[in-house]
Each structure stands twice: as C-alpha cells, then as structure tokens.
C-alpha cells in the first residue's frame, strides 16, 4: 500500500515538474477581429501584460490582419480578386471601424474624438508602444493569402513574422494566459 502511494506521489511530482517547466510567464493571444474596439482591447491587455514583465505573443489572423497594413505601401503581383479584397478591406489601423454603433462612420469618428478627449491612445500609437515593449506580432500566412495581402504592404514592426497555426499553438501551450479576441 505505501509503495503504491509513493509511486503515485512520484508520478504526480513528475507531472507537476513537467507542467511548471512548460508554463512561462507568457501571454498568447489570437487577434481575429478587425474591429477598432476589439483590437484596442487586445493591445491594452498586451501592453499591460508587458508591464508585468510577461512575454507577449499576438497572432493576427483573418480580419485583424487588415489593421497591420501600411497605407503608404502596396503589394505587388495581385490578381483581380486580391485587388478587390484589398480595396474593400480597411487599409491600416487608422481605417478600422467600431464593431457596434459605427453608423456609417459617424459612431467611429465620435469614439475617436472621445478617445482623444480622455487621452486614450489611438491604435497606431498602441502598435508603436507594443513594438517598443518587445511584444511579438505573428501574422497568419493563410489569412494573408485569403485576403491577398503581401508582407511588403504591412507596417514596419520589429520582428513581425508570417507564420502558421503551429507557431500559435506552441506559443499558447507554454503560456499562462491564452486569449481569443
């Protein structure tokens, strides 16, 4: 009986060791939404976590990838559909809109005014801060292909990488916090 218990305790100890070794002080987030409000929330949480000395990895996918476009740049060699997508989707974080109360642009313009009044940082400012804090941004390659975005039309962001779901999963697996926004 005692031998059995000792064996079980040893097994549990090994398990705990493995779990502890596998969890870093790290936050992994899927940024899926292309809405101004949701991306702002994602960046506030991300920069806040960086203040907690956590490593932060953001995985931009689907609609969120449009927020990483640089309005001054353009991608080469696009076909008709890719060009159309490019025209219909917001060109950069200045162009993204509210998920609610957009009201043909009126609501978004109003919230931007209110944000300024309350000294809430704008999305472009938040991206700059995130870069300075060493927050990693990974862009989903498949989403880039679907939307027809090219790496060369994305913002200059330190260490930004194009990758796949495996990168997100391995980051998420070793993170204490995982979020999907």
């Amino acid at each position: 009986m005692t031998i059995e218990l000792e064996k079980q305790i040893q097994e549990l100890k090994n398990k705990v060791d493995r779990l502890e070794a596998g969890t870093k002080d790290q936050l992994s987030m899927v940024v899926f939404s292309g809405d101004l409000d949701k991306i702002l929330a994602a960046l506030i949480i991300a920069t806040g976590a960086a203040a907690y000395d956590m490593k932060v990895k953001l995985f931009f996918t689907f609609w969120a990838t449009a927020a990483l476009r640089d309005p001054k740049k353009s991608g080469k060699g696009k076909n008709m559909i890719e060009k159309m997508f490019g025209m219909m989707l917001p060109k950069g974080s200045r162009k993204v809109t509210l998920s609610k109360m957009h009201m043909a642009g009126m609501g978004t313009a109003m919230i931007k005014g209110i944000m300024k009044k309350h000294k809430v940082a704008s999305l472009p400012e938040m991206f700059k801060t995130a870069g300075e804090l060493g927050i990693q941004i990974n862009i989903c390659e498949m989403s880039m292909n679907l939307m027809g975005f090219k790496k060369e039309e994305m913002i200059d962001y330190p260490g930004m990488t194009v990758c796949g779901v495996a990168t997100f999963l391995s980051d998420a697996q070793e993170s204490k916090i995982q979020l999907f926004i």
Partner: protein, 83 residues
C-alpha cells in the same frame, strides 16, 4: 504608511503619467522602475482613477513594496519601493 510619512519620503524618481488613460500609468510605471535601483523609491502621478487599484496589484505581483497614496486636488501620488 500615513500621509505624513509619505510626505516626508524623498523619491528617487517621479513618473508623471497625468493625463494618460489606461494602460498609460502602468506603462509609465514599468518604464520608471527600470531606471531606479532596488530599495529606491518611485512616485507616480496619475489622474486616472483606476491607477489607484492597479498599481498596488502590479506591485504585489512584481514584488515591489507599495507604500501608499497621497490625494491631491486633481490627481493622486502613488509611492512604491523597488524590490
């Protein structure tokens, strides 16, 4: 610490985050703490109400010692000692 004790403290650095909103004061605190040595005192000015709840929580996680708050007319002064 009492307000009197806090007032007599000599801060090694003052971080003025007045006029910024969440997460501004927190990010300012993170930047400021990197510029002082262990055992030194940092003072944060913030006009953001939430900061008064946030900074003590941040301190306990980062093991810095939160010393207290002095309320001024339009802002708060938060004191902490670097771990």
């Amino acid at each position: 610490m009492t307000t009197e004790e806090l007032k007599s403290l000599k801060s090694n650095t003052i971080v003025d985050a007045r006029g910024t909103a969440c997460p501004g004061p927190l990010l300012a605190a993170k930047k400021g703490i990197g510029e002082i040595e262990s055992g030194e005192i940092m003072e944060i000015y913030s006009s953001d109400e939430g900061t008064k709840n946030d900074i003590p929580k941040w301190c306990s996680k980062m093991t810095h010692e939160f010393l207290g708050i002095i309320e001024e007319d339009s802002y708060s002064r938060l004191f902490l000692k670097k771990a």
